[in-house]
């Protein structure tokens, strides 16, 4: 996997490059928008981390170029601005996530992993969480490489949770994922599906944990 860092700060830039290289493999660093455009033209990256205040302009300009690319990389915007309007603008322009400075390295890595997982899910890749693997294209669930049968609605619920691993998936999100507009939803239908899904995974000796959060929804974690 290749990561591009667009950051002009002589201290932060190299550090980002090294940290991301340790986490994801190869990593390149450029310091201007112009160099950034040149880099993405000659090479394809899976993740681009862009600072907003660059010497030759706002990092959001590069973001718009990247979204034109096919396939387009996952993007994280770094910002020292904390104005909610600035953050909203970054997300509107197609950033997959933003990280406000100053940040903890562990937080950046976690967010990068999350956006990459969504990217691979969108590209139809197979996502692995612990001993569970989920094939988006074929809608196939495997535990320790052995396929298990998961009914349609439970599969939709599992996919929604895999997309937002480590974060709470609201019950209303699961309802939208599992049911169409016309379906009548029983008040405890989602609970019943999750409960069956959990039993099914446990029976297959899956290590993935689906934690209920009272009043909100569920949280899927890998351990």
């Amino acid at each position: 996997m290749r990561v591009l860092v667009v950051e002009d700060d002589p201290q932060l830039g190299p550090w980002l490059r090294d940290t991301l290289a340790t986490a994801f493999g190869a990593s390149d660093m450029v310091t201007t928008l112009e160099e950034g455009r040149a880099a993405v033209a000659v090479r394809s990256f899976e993740l681009v981390v862009i600072d907003r205040g660059l010497p030759d302009g706002d990092g959001l300009a590069l973001l718009r170029d990247l979204k034109q690319q096919k396939p387009s990389p996952a993007t994280i915007v770094l910002t020292a601005l904390d104005d909610p309007l600035d953050i909203a603008r970054a997300l509107d322009d197609g950033a997959d996530d933003y990280v406000a400075k100053p940040f903890e390295p562990i937080e950046l890595i976690a967010r990068a992993k999350a956006v990459l997982r969504r990217l691979f899910l969108d590209r139809g890749a197979i996502v692995r969480i612990g001993n569970l693997s989920y094939d988006v294209l074929n809608r196939e669930v495997c535990v320790d490489h052995a396929p298990i049968v998961v009914p349609r609605r439970e599969l939709a619920i599992l996919e929604a949770m895999v997309r937002r691993i480590g974060r709470v998936v609201l019950r209303e999100t699961l309802e939208v994922a599992a049911y169409s507009f016309d379906d009548e939803i029983q008040s405890n239908a989602i609970e019943a599906h999750v409960s069956r899904l959990r039993r099914r995974l446990r029976a297959a000796n899956c290590k993935v944990v689906i934690k209920p959060v009272r009043g909100l929804g569920y949280l899927l974690s890998g351990e």
Partner: protein, 482 residues
């Protein structure tokens, strides 16, 4: 008593329109009185005409016939008064049957002619040579006893007598006119101020539409009356200056954020290179604390400096989203999160970002100060209440409202920045709501945010007031929190 009445009068707002209407009324009255006085003054003394006419009427009233059918005069109070007032008064009243006379009658008297008729057809004659006073007058009057020929003279009114007489006469004619005038004046006093105040009220209504958001909104100058135009223009110029200042403040905050955060981020990266692991951990902890102080100071400055745009929003949906975002952090710190909401939206007028910041701070506080392995309860309730409840060690502070001041911490452990609750307080102030801190029954802290309900007048919660309620809730053991 007088003092009290005066003070009460002074409290009534002075109205320019009422004042001007009153002044115009007063000036008109004074001018009318002056005109009347001038007329009377230049009208001069009576030359006898006025008095003689009055005397003729008095004589006409007194004419009777005695038992033999001859002409006679009865005594009347009016006649008596004239006799008393004018020593030179004389008269001759005659008809075909004879005549009655009184006083020093002059030698020469006019002859009654065929043209002499009843009413105003009197003939004045014989001015005195030395004065201009009329000395004699003859007049025909129709009385109950028939037509009589009256000759009289030797009377003249003084100026005072003349004025009194004229005014008495005038009153009868003028009274209806004065009543109409008074009614018109009263109506004008009521309606003119209202008419004059209408454009003022229109400008005031336009000013009410201007909220705290600097969006270049101005008072309409084209509709303002000429008198108000300078005020409207000055107000608009003041708004422009406020917009400029607000933009400068916003720029300053952005720059300050950038300038403070970049070195903090760099320092954080350099700290990774510290070899000594315990020292590195301590330095990183300090760096993180400094970072969160900077973040929260900027949040506080931004919320105080920029009045957020308030929109109609569902408090329950926002709280659900913010609560969900904080679950991973809470789980990492060993706290469970529980969310309770009604089965319907809770509509409030608010800024989503500001309320999200406030709620984040409360959840972070609850996770930090709550008991390990305990849970944090986030509850949304009617009419517009948002509570964050933990079951930790509680406030341990005599005056919980002190916590809403910047840099005040509830516990002796120096965790947190001491800014979270002041941000919450500031957010609630901008929303016209209240913050209350109290002890959770059974131990812990409950922070309750109450928002004004849209469409419901909050007469007892004026906007901008630092609305702080320190509630004291009796605990089961009978010990009060505050």
């Amino acid at each position: 008593m007088m003092m009290l009445k005066w003070q009460r009068l002074k409290r009534v707002h002075r109205s320019i329109a009422v004042l001007s209407a009153t002044l115009i009324g007063a000036v008109t009255t004074i001018m009318l009185l002056c005109a009347a006085a001038l007329l009377i003054r230049f009208g001069g003394d009576d030359d006898g005409t006025w008095a003689a006419a009055d005397v003729a009427d008095a004589l006409k009233e007194a004419v009777i016939r005695n038992e033999t059918g001859q002409l006679a005069l009865k005594r009347t109070s009016r006649l008596d008064e004239i006799t008393r007032n004018f020593p030179t008064f004389w008269y001759v009243v005659s008809d075909k049957s004879g005549e009655v006379s009184y006083g020093p009658i002059p030698k020469w008297r006019p002859q009654k002619t065929q043209t002499s008729r009843d009413g105003t057809s009197f003939i004045a004659y014989a001015f005195d040579g030395e004065t201009t006073n009329l000395r004699k007058m003859a007049v025909v009057r129709n009385t109950p006893v028939g037509e009589v020929w009256i000759e009289t003279g030797g009377v003249a009114y003084t100026a005072a007598q003349l004025t009194t007489g004229m005014l008495t006469d005038a009153t009868i004619v003028a009274l209806p006119i004065i009543l109409v005038l008074a009614a018109t004046a009263f109506t004008a006093m009521v309606f003119v101020p209202t008419l004059i105040a209408r454009p003022v009220r229109a400008v005031a209504a336009a000013a009410e539409m201007i909220d705290g958001v600097s969006d270049g909104r101005r008072l309409p100058e084209q509709d303002a009356p000429a008198e108000l135009l300078p005020l409207v223009a000055a107000f608009n110029r003041a708004l422009s200056r406020i917009d400029v200042a607000s933009k400068a403040q916003r720029n300053f905050l952005s720059n300050a954020a950038h300038e403070l955060r970049t070195p903090l981020t760099n320092a954080r990266t350099i700290l990774e290179q510290v070899e000594d692991a315990p020292l590195r951990a301590r330095l990183i902890a300090e760096n993180q604390k400094l970072s969160s102080i900077v973040t929260m100071l900027l949040q506080l400055a931004r919320i105080s400096a920029e009045p957020a745009e308030l929109i109609e929003m569902d408090l329950a949906a926002l709280a659900r989203r913010v609560a969900a975002e904080h679950v991973p952090m809470a789980l990492k710190n060993g706290s469970d999160v529980e969310f309770i909401e009604p089965h319907h939206p809770i509509w409030v007028r608010g800024s989503e970002t500001a309320i999200a910041v406030a709620l984040s701070n409360l959840i972070r506080n609850a996770v930090t100060h709550g008991s390990a392995g305990g849970s944090v309860l986030i509850e949304v309730g009617a009419p517009a209440r948002l509570s964050v409840i933990d079951y930790g060690s509680g406030l341990q502070l005599g005056q919980p409202e002190l916590l809403l001041e910047p840099f005040k911490r509830g516990n002796t452990r120096a965790e947190g920045t001491g800014l979270g609750l002041s941000i919450v307080s500031q957010v609630m102030t901008t929303h016209g709501g209240t913050v209350s801190l109290c002890e959770t029954p059974g131990g812990g802290t409950t922070v309750e945010l109450n928002f004004p309900v849209p469409g419901c007048r909050q007469a007892d919660l004026p906007q901008g007031r630092k609305a702080v309620q320190a509630m004291t809730e009796a605990r089961p053991d009978g010990i009060s929190a505050a």
